[in-house]
């Protein structure tokens, strides 16, 4: 049962524009959410996280928004750069748990 869902398998965006990646979850026990970026032949790299007590967290070009009532989070990348082309995974965990549940990933392609 997929508890974290990324319904868009791919996203293409022009360099300099905003990339918006979406993620939905079903487990109401999740209270910590993360985004990872993955290049081919490398492990996922941690990008940004947000806990359920917040609705927004910003780190440079990356902002994560959390809508707990809708069980939805999104990652905004502004401005998008060619080096942002990668697979982005949304992940979630419940406090006190030790494992992450991952979404299927969204492949982002930033066009020059």
């Amino acid at each position: 049962d997929q508890q974290v869902k990324q319904n868009s398998p791919s996203l293409s965006v022009q360099e300099g524009r905003i990339s918006i990646l979406n993620c939905d979850y079903t487990n109401s026990m999740f209270d910590y959410f993360l985004w990872y970026k993955k290049y081919p032949a490398e492990g996922p790299t941690f990008l940004i996280s947000i806990s359920s007590i917040k609705d927004k967290n910003e780190d440079g070009r990356f902002t994560v928004f959390l809508n707990k009532s809708a069980k939805h989070l999104s990652l905004h990348i502004v401005p998008s750069q060619p080096g942002d082309s990668a697979v982005y995974f949304c992940a979630a965990s419940a406090r006190g748990d030790y494992k992450l549940s991952f979404g299927a990933g969204t492949t982002v392609t930033v066009r020059a």
Partner: protein, 114 residues
């Protein structure tokens, strides 16, 4: 900065053979996680250790076992390998237990079973 080190990067084994994957966490990280990523799939949690004790278990086959040693490195032992075990195996580490510390992943071991 030091990252999670996994060895080997690539491993080719035959059916019914045994494989051992190693993971060296980031210094001062006391929690280690193992994930399996099949072709075209998202990473699936296998097992985790906190302070050398198993802390959680996911969809890990009985043919697999793992442990965390006194220096916090971890090894995933896989026996009676099957073709379906071919996958990318990621190790991750974090500081502390619980769900509020980001996991940092290694570059994975690609296991091919022929």
């Amino acid at each position: 900065a030091a990252g999670v080190i996994q060895s080997p990067r690539h491993l080719i084994k035959e059916k019914r053979e045994t494989a051992t994957l190693k993971c060296y966490p980031i210094p001062r990280h006391d929690t280690v996680y193992w994930y399996q990523q099949g072709p075209g799939q998202d990473p699936q949690f296998l097992i985790s250790f906190y302070e050398k004790m198993q802390s959680d278990k996911g969809s890990i086959p009985d043919r697999f076992s793992a442990q965390q040693f006194s220096d916090y490195h971890s090894e995933l032992n896989m026996s009676s390998l099957e073709l379906g075990d071919s996958a990318l195996y990621f190790c991750a580490s974090s500081q502390g237990q619980g769900g509020d510390s980001p996991l940092h992943f290694g570059n994975g071991t690609r296991l091919t079973v022929t």
